[in-house]
């Protein structure tokens, strides 16, 4: 099949499409309104749900700060609060940037460039977020154990150790999967950016 044949198939399809005017004014306006409504329903995605959980846990620790009665447990609590707030803010900020792309005024090249850069930045934040969650885990576990059970895990090193190991293994699996995904997406994205700039 030659390029000219592809072109003629496309032209033939264009002619056939021209003959079919299926949409009515009512369908078009209903389509527009429906999309407007679903824009506001689309809040329930993973990132936003995750952010809500993080903020809820930060608030929970914050309101139970008085229970963290040693300097190291207090430090763990504060670290956990900072991580729970900063990471979702960074992720949601990057997501917002992608969603706010000026699709009307940007050229195709610039839109593609902006989108690819924002997407890469988001993936980078998510990747670092996975690594940062190891630190978060180390701070969160002792703080939450003290708040919920009144236990100071630093006085029970074996419990702290096995709980940390179980969660670290879980995180490691996620991190490995995330890294593979990150590598695949960003290598093609970086190539595209290089090609366009």
């Amino acid at each position: 099949m030659e390029l000219e044949e592809l072109q003629s198939a496309w032209t033939q399809m264009s002619h056939q499409l021209e003959k079919q005017k299926e949409l009515t004014n009512e369908i078009i306006m209903e389509m527009t309104k429906e999309k407007y409504r679903t824009k506001f329903k689309a809040i329930t995605n993973f990132e936003k749900a995750g952010a809500l959980v993080c903020i809820a846990s930060a608030l929970f620790i914050f309101f139970n700060i008085p229970k963290l009665d040693t300097w190291y447990l207090l430090a763990c609590g504060l670290i956990a609060i900072v991580f729970s707030i900063v990471l979702p803010i960074l992720v949601l900020g990057s997501l917002k940037k992608i969603q706010c792309l000026d699709i009307v005024n940007l050229s195709y090249k610039d839109a593609l460039l902006e989108y690819t850069k924002s997407k890469t930045k988001l993936l980078k934040i998510q990747r670092y977020g996975i690594y940062a969650s190891f630190i978060y885990l180390m701070a969160f576990l002792p703080a939450i154990a003290k708040i919920l059970n009144g236990k100071d895990l630093f006085l029970e090193p074996s419990t702290l150790l096995w709980k940390t190991i179980v969660m670290a293994v879980f995180l490691l699996i996620i991190a490995r999967w995330g890294y593979g995904h990150y590598k695949r997406v960003t290598s093609s994205a970086e190539q595209l950016i290089k090609d366009l700039e």
Partner: protein
């Protein structure tokens, strides 16, 4: 109300164009319909800001293609989704087997292109000149020429292989 009527007339007039753009960037009918709706919504949002500085089709291509970029990877193939090449055939209902086969091949080749190449290929197939392609894509005319000849080579290689 007058605005709604004018907008609906514009979409009706260019629905073939929207159909083609949305089919290039998706691989099944469900996603194509979803992208079509998203493009119509984005056109409605920016309808007021459209100033007759460029051709209306240039504006539509730009909004549609840029919207398609932002929707990439968001969609996943659903089990009941109809592959795009089949949906095109249903839509065209020509009964011409040779044409249908060529259309299938065309979409198969387009699927193998990356997102930038897809955009250029679309405009090339639409019969746009390098100047207009440059205006829509933001690339220089000479860059458009270079990239298009690269795409042609790539297509030729793919065609020989298949």
């Amino acid at each position: 109300m007058a605005k709604e009527i004018a907008f609906a007339a514009l979409v009706r007039e260019h629905q073939g164009l929207l159909f083609k753009v949305t089919s290039i960037y998706t691989d099944n009918e469900t996603d194509r319909e979803d992208l079509f709706q998203e493009v119509v919504y984005q056109l409605w949002r920016s309808f007021d800001s459209f100033r007759n500085e460029s051709k209306i089709s240039t504006w539509i291509y730009r909004v549609a293609m840029n919207t398609a970029i932002t929707q990439l990877k968001k969609r996943k193939r659903r089990p009941d989704a109809i592959p795009i090449s089949e949906s095109i055939l249903i839509h065209s209902e020509s009964g011409d087997e040779d044409f249908e086969e060529r259309l299938r091949m065309l979409y198969k080749h387009i699927e193998r292109l990356d997102v930038l190449e897809k955009g250029l290929m679309l405009l090339l197939l639409e019969g746009k000149g390098y100047k207009e392609i440059a205006e829509i894509t933001g690339l220089s005319e000479s860059n458009v020429g270079t990239r298009i000849s690269r795409i042609k080579k790539k297509l030729k290689t793919n065609m020989i292989k298949s």
